[in-house]
Every structure is written in structure tokens, then in C-alpha cells.
Amino acid sequence: MPILCCVLLSGCWDRIEINDLAIVLATGIDYEDGKVQLTSQIFIPRKASAGDSSGSGGSPSGVTMIRTADGHTIAEALNRLQRKVPRNMFWGHCEVIIISEQAGKRGIREYIDFFLRYPQFREHAYVFSSERAAKDILALLDPLERSSAESLREMANMKLGTRMTALELGKSIEGPGSSVILSRMLILPPEPEQDKLTTTPYVKGLSIYKKDRYVKTVKEPLSVGVLLLAKELNNIIMPVEIKPLKGSFSIQPIEIQTVLKPRIVNQRWSMKVDIQTRGEVVLNTTEGDLTDPAVITKLEQEWSAKLTTLAHDALEMAQKELRTDLFKFAVEFRRYYPHQWKKQEKNWETLYPELDVEVKVGAHVVRTGKSTGPQGIPDEDEN
């Protein structure tokens, strides 16, 4: 009995009370003056009263705060960061990682190793890229969500850009493709009478990484093609025009399926990209009537053509301009032609740009929204 008491009393080695924790919600990585800058967004548990006063600003000020530290390596930066915080830094709830394009240019291999090695980090934290410094985004106090980390996470959940977790980041870069696509975040300009920080980050464009270095930013409409081929296109409304008619139809795809079919025939490597999509018309600014099957067929054709163009443009950029296998063609070849892949693995860099890629699109308009014919046309004659 006394032994038990001694053991228990001297024990509790791992016990950490919640109020001794600095809960980190998001992490940002910048690179400045030859040093890695690590920023963390820390939650401030202020005891809020039972009925939270909302007022005009929204979230109470100071729900989160940021702390930054730099070092030669990211681990050193982490260490220095802890010294600036009076509580134990707890990275177990870090949902969001933002890597600035500056840091990306230098190569993110170091950071990937850190995220997949340090025990507390979550492997399915979402990774984003940012145009400006990451710490600027982390410093934002989002009016709608509890923190900007929360809003970023929700946006990733809704698949507004690409949905890339740390584990997938590792897989993509270490895989045969050696590339990764990240969503690029910008900061929304704040409302005029708001505080400069009370605003939200938002997705605009994509950052492309080749072999763990940042190489290019891609904006619309090219980014749509990229996402389409990368099987990540989720939130888009496309305007499609039918030639003789004035105005356009806007189609929202309900479902997009991209299937990659590799083929090796007589030493010629080729890839067939099969895109099937079904969409719903959400806006009709033309005078065309969607109950007319001819209109629908024409619409589908135009839409197919548009998608094909987008895909081709994206492929052009990936193959010729960047010479980077963004869409994981390599993985497919390895899966289905393992022997040939083994032989040609080293030549993939030269093989890829010469790859024959055939894009086939099947687009179907399945719904026309709540209305049939065009609405809102003044002085409409009923026939």
C-alpha cells in the first residue's frame, strides 16, 4: 500500500492539464533572410459569458493569436517558438498547414519530413499554399468561424480547391510523379469599417510544385483544366455558349469522373483520358429553350468541346512547359505495365513530354434547374 502511494504520488509524469496547453490550430511556414519562419496560430481560451455578444464585428477579439519564430531548420524554429509561449505547445489539433510560395521555392522536402515524423502532427492536416506570407493569413480573425484555421479547414472539406492532406502530400512527392498541386490562398480585402484583420482567406488559383519546389501559379481558366485532370474539380460553374444564340448557359457539374487509361503499343506510350460528367443548367441568358432536345444536344457538344479544350491546355502546360507529371500518369503506368515501367523508369522525364494523350469527354446535361424555358424575358409571346 505505501509503495503504491509512493508510486502514484511521485508519478503522473505525462500529465498535462488542459490549461497548461497552448493549443495550436494552424501552422504557417515562411522563408525569410535565409531562415525558416514558423508561425503558429494559438487558441486563447478566454472564459466567454453564457450569451456571447455578437455586435458588428462578430468574433470576440483575441480568440486566436499568432507567434512566430525562425531558425535554420524547421525543427530549430519549433524549438524557438516554444520559448516564446508560456504553455506547452500542443500540435495535436493543428488542422491546417500553410506554406508560402517563398518557402516553396526553396523546396518543401524538409517540411514534409518534419510533418510526417514529429509525433504530434496530424497526417491529415490540410496543406495550402499562400501568395503572401503565411503568417499574414494566420493572423486573420475570421468573423464567421472561430478562427481562420477553422474557415480554411471548412473550405478544404467543401473541396473548394484541392483537398491535400499532409500524408497525400508526402505520397505525391515521393511517388513516381514527383509533383503536387496545392490550393493557393489569398486574403479577402476587409470591409471598409472593419478592422484590418477581421477578414477571411479565400482560394484563388493553384500552386504547382515540381519535385518539392514551387514552380508556378496557375489561375483560371487554366486551373480548371488542371483540377479537372487531377480529379479534384468540385466547385465550378462553367459558362457555355452556343454559337448562333446570344448569351450563355451556365452549367454546374454534379459529378465529374476522370479515368486514366495507360497504353503501351509497340514501344509507344500513350494515355487515354476519359472524362465523364453530368451537369445541371443553372443559368440561361439566351433565348434557347431547354425543353428542345436539339438545344440540349448542342449544349452538350459545346460543353464537351470546352472541357476538352481546358484539358488540352492543362496538358500542354504540364507536358511542354513544366515537363512535370502533375496528374499521376506515372502511377497508372506503374500499376498496369510494371515490367515496362521498371525498364523505363529513369527516362520518365524525357518520356512524359512526348506522351500521346488523347482526351475524350462525355458530357451530359441531366437537369435544367427549376425552370424549363428561359425566364425573365420581357414581353414574351406565348405560342
Binding site: 508519478g11 498535462i16 492539464e17 493549443i23 472564459k47
Partner: protein, 469 residues
């Protein structure tokens, strides 16, 4: 047996009334409830009637025994009463008087006659307070052994229901009955029980717990190895399953054995309600049984060791709530649990009128006040409340004691080693339960060792069988 307490010597009755009266009054000296009534029979013989006022039905004594004697002058044995007995020694006479019989001595006769006129004040049967059901019989055992036996016999009208009565307790001489169904119960089990009962040397028997502690396999275990119940239908159904029961005079709580932990978690109402309802409630009980033991420790373990397990949103709220609390989670949990146990115990002592109001309002106010004062946090109060509710869900009060007690060592383990500690505690409890036997039956059957036929009663509620065995 301390004979000096009962009678000085076991003397045979002489024929002389004066001598016998002297002998008996010396034994009962100072017992003002024992009456010595001398009278003359119609045949002009001196007669002595000794009886105990509290235990004997004086009205019938008057009417059926004394009056016929005094007026009609019949023979002692011809009194129109059932089961008239004769006694020859003082010990027997004293015993008979204490059992409520009236002793009649005649001048010149060396044999006394006793008439069974036992009638004592009894509570009429009412619904047991601690074991009420929504649907089901509402009679409960009382303190009278004969009445309890009658409640059982009423339900099991078969000669296979055997009742063995004996006295236990040197000083109290309490009657107890061993009841079982012959043909269903294992005869070796009956032998074992009888052996244990006769080996048991008790000075006093005031409640069935005295006997229970003496005959169970493992005295030092928080888990009960016999069920104590006030309900005759519970006893009856258990007897029909091959168990035995021990009724003790002076207490309505009857002991049943052998039992398993699953008997502790079943209520008779399971069979009186719809199947789906019973199964649902049964599973709810299993879950809450585990919760009542593990919830505070799990909370302490997760919030102090494994914070990454908590959903982020919840963690932020808990962090906010705990910000002002000066105590570590373990201490906070201990304070609240002890306070809750104190409230519970105090609530038992409160008179009925005040009890419910005080407990509800008190708990609410104390909880609210404690939170506002910053002594405990709101999540902790919720945890403690749920644990309390969980422990009330266990049908057998004795089993809920076990979980209440085990909660505290678990909390210490959780505070030291986190979830690992909680799991170690669970392992220790399971080891203990696995090694426990209730009169030879493993405590965890039918789960371990698995008896597949019985298993259906654990996770489902099978329909009562129709065919005779």
C-alpha cells in the same frame, strides 16, 4: 450453543405444578411479557397456562383453550386445535413458549401440551420500495418468515418446492429457511449449502447479510455473490432455474445463489415487458454499467493525457471552461465524486417529505454555485451527473456499490498513467471477476466460460419456454 442463555438445566417436567411453575418462572424471571396463568379446570384440577403475550393469540387462547377447559372439562389433548404437541422437558417448554405457543400444564401430568397460537404483529405485504417495476406483481416479502414462505408457496404450488427450516444464531435463535426446487437444482449444490450453513457459527443473526457473508466463496470482493431481493417473483423464477434461496426471519431480504454478474444486471421487468423494449433496456444497462465505473476515469485520462482525442471544438470549450479552475482534473474529479457520494448518502437519511426537494435543488444549486465560484468546471459536473445516473440504472443495489467503490482506484490509475492506466484497471477488474465463483459457478458465465445455450439470455431476451423439460 450457550445453553445458559436459554435455560439453566434441561429438567424433565415433574407432575407437581408448583415445582414446574417454579422452574419455568426462574427461567423467565424478569420477562414481564410471559404470563403464568393458573386456573382450575372443570374437573377441579389445577392447571397452569404459560404464554407470551406478544407472540400468542390471546383471544383464541381464551376462546378455544381456556374456556373449554374451564367449562367443559375436556382432556388436554382433545382441544379442537390443529397440531397439538407435547413437551417433556423445560428446554422444550421454553422453546415452545418463545415460538408463540401456549403451554398447558396439569397437576399430576408429566407431559405438557402446547398449542400453536402464534400470531405476531406484522406489516402487510407492500410493494418493495427499492425494486419497484412498472408492470408486475406488487407484493413483497415482509419480516415474517411464515408469511414469506406462504408467498413463495402460493407461486410454486408443487411438492417439489422443498423448504428446510433451521435456527441460526446462538443468541437470537433466528429461524431461516433454505428453499429449493428438487429435481431442478443440482443435489451437490444443496449438499454444499447445507454444509456451509451448519459450519457457520454465528452469535447473532439480525439480517440476511450476516449469513451471506458467512457462506459466500469470496468474502473480500466488492461484487456481491448472492442476490438479496424483496420480491417473491424474483425468488420464484430463480428457484425455477436451479438456484436456491435462503429466507431469514426478521428481514424481507431473501438471499439467492448461485448468481452471475449478468443476474445483477437483469431486472424482473425484462420478462414482463415487450421483447424489443427489454433488449434495448438491457443493452442500455450494460453500457451504463461500464460507464458508471469508467466515465470519470476516462474523462480524467483523456483531458490530461490524450488531449488529441477530443474533437477540436469540444476541446476549445473545455479549455475555456477549465481556464479559471485551480485544481488539476484528477483532484476536481475526486472532489465532485466524493461530494456526490456524500449527497447520496445524506439523501438516504432525509425524511421523505424533505428528501426529494433537498436533493434536487441542492444538487442544482451546489453544482451551479460551484461552477460560478470557479471550483469545478461545468463538464466535470455533467460527467459526475451521468455517472450517478448510470449507477442508479443497475437493478441490484449491491452491484452498484461495487462500481461506485471501484470508481476511485480507477481515477487514480487514470490520473497516473492515462488511458493505459484505465485499461490496466479494467484488466484487474476482469481478472477479479474471472476468478470469482458463486457457489462453484464462475461469476462471468455464460460469457466466459462460454455456454452457448445460455448466451442468448445475455444479449437478447428469449421468450419463456413452453415445453416441459
Amino acid at each position: 450453543m450457550d445453553t445458559s442463555l436459554i435455560t439453566q438445566q434441561n429438567l424433565p417436567l415433574t407432575g407437581h405444578l408448583a415445582v414446574d411453575q417454579e422452574m419455568l418462572s426462574s427461567v423467565f424471571a424478569g420477562c414481564s411479557d410471559v404470563v403464568f396463568h393458573t386456573f382450575e379446570t372443570a374437573c377441579h384440577t389445577s392447571a397452569l397456562c404459560v404464554y407470551c403475550i406478544g407472540l400468542c393469540d390471546t383471544e383464541r387462547l381464551e376462546r378455544q383453550v381456556l374456556t373449554p377447559f374451564q367449562e367443559m372439562g375436556i382432556e388436554a389433548a382433545q382441544v379442537p386445535l390443529a397440531s397439538v404437541k407435547s413437551v417433556e422437558t423445560t428446554t422444550q417448554a421454553v422453546q415452545a413458549i418463545l415460538e408463540g405457543e401456549a403451554l398447558l400444564l396439569l397437576e399430576g401430568s408429566m407431559i405438557g401440551t402446547t398449542y400453536p397460537l402464534y400470531k405476531a404483529e406484522n406489516r402487510s405485504t407492500e410493494e418493495p420500495l427499492a425494486e419497484s417495476t412498472v408492470r408486475g406483481a406488487r407484493d413483497g416479502f415482509t419480516e415474517s418468515l411464515t408469511m414469506n414462505m406462504s408467498l413463495l408457496r402460493k407461486r410454486l404450488k408443487t411438492p417439489a418446492l422443498k423448504i428446510h427450516t433451521r435456527n441460526m444464531g446462538d443468541r437470537t435463535n433466528t429461524s431461516i429457511s433454505l428453499v429449493y426446487m428438487e429435481g431442478i437444482i443440482d443435489p451437490k449444490l444443496v449438499q454444499e449449502v447445507k454444509k456451509r450453513l451448519s459450519d457457520l457459527k454465528l452469535r447473532d443473526v439480525l439480517e440476511s447479510q450476516y449469513i451471506e457473508e458467512g457462506i459466500v466463496d469470496q468474502r473480500y470482493s466488492p461484487f456481491p455473490q448472492m442476490i438479496a431481493t424483496e420480491r417473491p417473483d424474483v425468488v420464484a423464477s430463480n428457484l425455477l432455474e436451479g438456484r436456491f434461496a435462503i429466507l431469514v426471519d426478521g428481514t424481507p431480504f431473501t438471499l439467492i445463489a448461485p448468481v452471475t454478474i449478468f443476474s445483477m444486471l437483469q431486472s424482473p421487468e425484462d420478462y414482463y415487458q415487450n421483447v424489443f423494449m427489454s433488449v434495448f433496456v438491457r443493452w442500455l444497462r450494460y453500457i451504463f454499467f461500464v460507464l458508471s465505473m469508467l466515465l470519470p476515469s476516462a474523462y480524467v485520462a483523456i483531458t490530461t493525457f490524450h488531449q488529441e482525442m477530443i474533437p477540436t471544438v469540444l476541446l476549445l470549450s473545455i479549455a475555456r471552461a477549465r481556464e479559471e479552475i485551480p485544481f488539476p482534473a484528477l483532484v476536481e474529479a475526486l472532489i465532485m465524486e466524493i461530494a456526490f457520494e456524500a449527497l447520496r448518502e445524506a439523501g438516504v437519511r432525509l425524511p421523505k417529505q424533505v428528501g426529494s426537494a433537498v436533493s434536487i435543488v441542492g444538487a442544482l444549486i451546489i453544482g451551479q454555485a460551484a461552477t460560478s465560484a470557479g471550483i469545478v468546471s461545468a463538464p466535470m459536473i455533467i460527467i459526475v451527473a451521468i455517472t450517478g445516473i448510470a449507477s442508479f440504472m443497475i437493478p441490484r443495489y449491491a452491484a452498484s456499490i461495487a462500481t461506485r467503490l471501484l470508481r476511485f482506484p480507477m481515477m487514480f490509475l487514470a490520473g497516473t498513467l492515462g488511458l493505459t492506466g484505465v485499461m490496466l484497471g479494467v484488466i484487474l477488474v476482469v481478472i477479479h471477476l474471472s476468478s470469482l465463483r458463486s457457489f462453484g459457478t464462475p461469476y462471468l458465465s455464460p460469457v466466459a466460460p462460454t455456454m452457448s445455450k445460455e448466451l442468448k439470455d445475455v444479449w437478447w431476451r428469449p421468450a419463456p419456454r413452453n415445453k416441459p423439460d
